[in-house]
């Protein structure tokens, strides 16, 4: 009965949103804007969500979510346009798409490739939406059993795993970025005793750092500086023919689509890592399982299908930990968390009690956004491609103004700008030196959760850490954290190799480690 209730509620929300002209206008407008943001190299869906957060501040929560989720879905898909037509992924999520998409465009099949990415992205989003609906109650049920220790460990795990998986260089740089984010979260008066921490005498810092301006600074300013400093130019676009949905190709590849969608949802659900990793993993899996791996990189439709299904499936995947645990699954989801908090919605296990239909609403918006993306993608692709002709030197300064007015408008505080700009410059240097930004952002967002729950847990246990080892979920999380850390060291790999050799009599394939990792030990 409960299942039918949920289905009824879901379709009720879908119908309600679809019958409201304002919601539909906002939906299509935001999807289109997302596609443009995704298609323009240098702009990302995270930046799109960040800038739109300021515009949605005055809207009601439901309409704001339509706007933000639609730009997220559209932005993730839009990256494929420039990946296919100019061999430059509009977003990191579409990097794997360029490998086969561009050769297809060179063969004169650009329209076919975009038709396929449109269909694959729509299916990926819809499959991930099904997971949001079906898995959320289960996770929510388990999360309700969590105590402060579990929440502290979960927040800490989110920061750590994000640092581990997103670091483009040494893993410890990812961890450093995560801890820098945690430090930023410590700034301001603490929640238990109201003691001012690291405020340096600025009264404006008493309430802590504002999350959204920090996120806008961290994602927007480094992007502008990088693009203009390195004189990034958009190349010549390949010709785009008639765009067809490629239903036949999709039907023939249903198992591959489902596999890619599962990879996307799974990776999306891991805190802090986003669509780019989902795209690459899915592409790699498709290549490894293909009967003709040699055709990959030369215009193989399966390659395009795999990366595009996975990166859009990641959107729904990222929503699962965000909505049920309050832990963002990807950088745009981190922005969404900031936006939700601005609207007075606190994601986490209590969301099903405080806002009983909220998860259904998110799922319904994802479904409608994927439909809007399909329609917009098929009808307006040729028009959207025209924006690729705008030089970066023109739109990047305008994005700068948007970052500034957007940061200011959230709280109408000039101090937000004084915070946003230095954070942006520091993040630029960090990016240049191989530190990932996603763990820093996750640290800023999860910091208050980690701080509050650690102290609350220790208060309840009178300063004892024993509950960590006595509670099964805590123990599992603790062991995963320990394993995540030690698995980065050489002595652990050698020990594992020796054990595996003794038990199974075989060598571990990871025996030879890269030089940098070697020195880490």
């Amino acid at each position: 009965m409960m299942l039918f209730d949920r289905i009824g509620t879901f379709f009720g929300i879908v119908f309600h949103l679809a019958s409201d002209p304002i919601s539909i206008a906002v939906l299509f407008g935001s999807v289109l804007m997302g596609i443009i943001f995704g298609a323009m190299p240098g702009l990302t869906s995270t930046l799109g969500v960040a800038l739109l957060t300021a515009l949605t501040y005055g809207m009601d929560t439901s309409l704001a979510m339509v706007c933000l989720l639609a730009i997220y879905v559209g932005g993730t898909y839009g990256g494929s346009y420039s990946a296919i037509l100019i061999n430059i992924p509009g977003t990191a999520a579409a990097a794997a798409t360029a490998l086969d998409g561009y050769p297809l465009a060179c063969k004169g099949e650009g329209g076919r490739a975009i038709g396929l990415t449109t269909t694959a992205s729509t299916i990926g989003t819809i499959i991930s939406m099904l997971f949001v609906v079906s898995i959320s109650p289960i996770i929510s049920y388990f999360a309700l059993q969590f105590t402060s220790f579990e929440f502290f460990l979960l927040a800490f795990f989110g920061i750590l795993i994000s640092g581990t998986l997103t670091s483009p260089d040494l893993v410890i740089k990812g961890w450093i970025a995560g801890f820098l984010g945690l430090f930023l979260a410590c700034v301001g008066r603490d929640l238990l005793q109201f003691y001012p921490r690291f405020t340096l005498g600025f009264a404006e810092l008493d309430s802590g750092v504002e999350v959204v301006p920090v996120l806008i600074g961290a994602f927007g300013i480094p992007q502008i500086i990088q693009v203009l400093k390195d004189r990034f130019q958009i190349g010549e676009t390949q010709k785009l023919q008639r765009i067809i949905p490629e239903i036949g190709t999709v039907v023939r590849n249903i198992p591959a689509i489902i596999r890619s969608a599962l990879i996307g949802v799974g990776i999306g659900a891991v805190p802090g890592i986003g669509e780019d990793i989902a795209g690459w993993v899915s592409y790699g899996t498709a290549k490894n399982t293909s009967k003709h791996p040699e055709t990959f990189g030369k215009g193989e439709l399966q390659g395009v299908l795999a990366s595009e299904t996975a990166n859009n499936a990641c959107v729904g995947g990222a929503m699962i930990p965000l909505l049920n645990l309050g832990i963002p699954g990807s950088p745009p989801a981190a922005m969404l968390l900031g936006a939700l908090m601005l609207h007075g919605v606190t994601p986490g296990p209590m969301i099903t009690f405080e806002h009983p239909t909220f998860i259904m609403e998110v799922a319904a918006i994802l479904l409608l956004a994927s439909c809007a993306m399909f329609v917009t993608g098929l009808l307006l692709a040729k028009q959207v491609v025209k924006v690729l002709r705008i030089p970066t030197q023109i739109f990047m300064p305008i994005i700068g103004v948007l970052c500034i007015i957007g940061s200011y408008s959230l709280g109408l505080n000039i101090f937000n700008l004084y915070l946003m700009l230095p954070v942006g410059i520091i993040c630029y240097f960090l990016t240049e030196m191989g530190y990932p930004i996603a763990p820093l952002v996750i640290g800023v967002i999860l910091g208050p959760m980690a701080d509050e729950n650690l102290r609350r847990a220790l208060m309840v246990s009178q300063g004892s850490f024993m509950p960590v080892f006595q509670r099964p979920v805590s123990l599992i999380l603790f062991l995963i954290i320990v394993l995540t850390v030690v698995s980065q060291f050489d002595w652990y790999r050698n020990l594992k190799d020796r054990l595996l050799q003794k038990v199974f009599g075989r060598r571990n394939p990871h025996e030879t480690v890269p030089k940098e990792k070697e020195s880490e030990s």
Binding site: F183, Y195, I394, G400, L412, L421, K515
Partner: protein, 254 residues
């Protein structure tokens, strides 16, 4: 991102800064109440506000030290000596004067002057127009020599503007002329446009770019600004001459 070899050398310095930063966090955290009473709460170590900062500071310092160790192991003693030698040589000056870094300085100057000098003091629309005109012309012309000239000209204007506000001339003039800061900015925009025109008037492709830059620099703020001001009801950071005119137009009929 830099290449791996340069990155490891840079890691020695970034690791040192990070380690020192971690130690600073610890030193600050040690001044927070660990025992005794604060705000009516009897402290024990596990409810202290210093608990997480101490942990974070210790981890940052430790990871910073680990990063230095990894970098030193990879770079070696010779690499470190070479890097230190490079820091003391004239190559560093050449590096700091490279066109890419000049582009970086230009952006930093533009952003800092807009946020810290213009936004709190002059009308948002005028500030945004100035920011965009300078920003777009500097980069859209795609000529490092021109960028340098425009940056120096803009810097001179910024210094003059800084002097104008810090000497209190704005308040003095306000009695006789409303919005003196805005008038000064408007004058600077016009002078800057004339200066840039004088630089590029003999280069036809740049003349076209100049026109585009001017149009966009005016159209963009007057599209973004009214959306925030009149549709989202967000008051501008500083409302001056232009907002007064826009208000008069907007509230005349609506």
């Amino acid at each position: 991102m830099m290449d791996k070899d340069k990155l490891r050398k840079a890691d020695i310095f970034s690791g040192s800064i990070i380690m020192l930063f971690g130690l600073w966090i610890i030193s600050q955290a040690l001044q927070m109440p660990m025992k005794g009473s604060y705000g009516g709460v009897q402290n024990v170590w596990y409810v202290s506000p210093a608990l997480l900062p101490l942990f974070v500071g210790a981890m940052i310092a430790l990871l910073g030290a680990l990063l230095i160790r990894i970098a030193l192991k990879t770079v070696g003693r010779q690499g470190l000596t070479d890097t230190l030698h490079w820091l003391g040589s004239s190559e560093l000056i050449h590096f700091l004067k490279s066109p890419a870094l000049f582009r970086f300085y230009a952006m930093v100057v533009l952003f800092f002057s807009f946020v810290f000098l213009n936004i709190p003091r002059i009308d948002f629309f005028l500030g945004a127009v100035l920011f965009l005109i300078v920003f777009i012309t500097m980069f859209y012309f795609d000529d490092d020599a021109l960028l340098k000239k425009m940056l120096y000209f803009y810097l001179a204007g910024t210094v003059a503007s800084l002097a104008f506000f810090s000497l209190g001339l704005s308040e003095t003039l306000e009695a006789s002329l409303p919005y003196p800061g805005d008038w000064l900015t408007l004058a600077f925009i016009i002078v800057y446009c004339i200066y840039v025109w004088s630089l590029i008037r003999n280069v036809p492709p740049l003349r076209k770019k100049y026109r585009t830059a001017l149009i966009l620099a005016v159209v963009a703020p007057f599209t973004i600004g009214p959306i925030f001001k009149y549709f989202l009801l967000v008051p501008m950071p500083k409302e001056g001459m232009v907002v007064a005119v826009l208000d008069a137009i907007w509230y005349w009929d609506f």
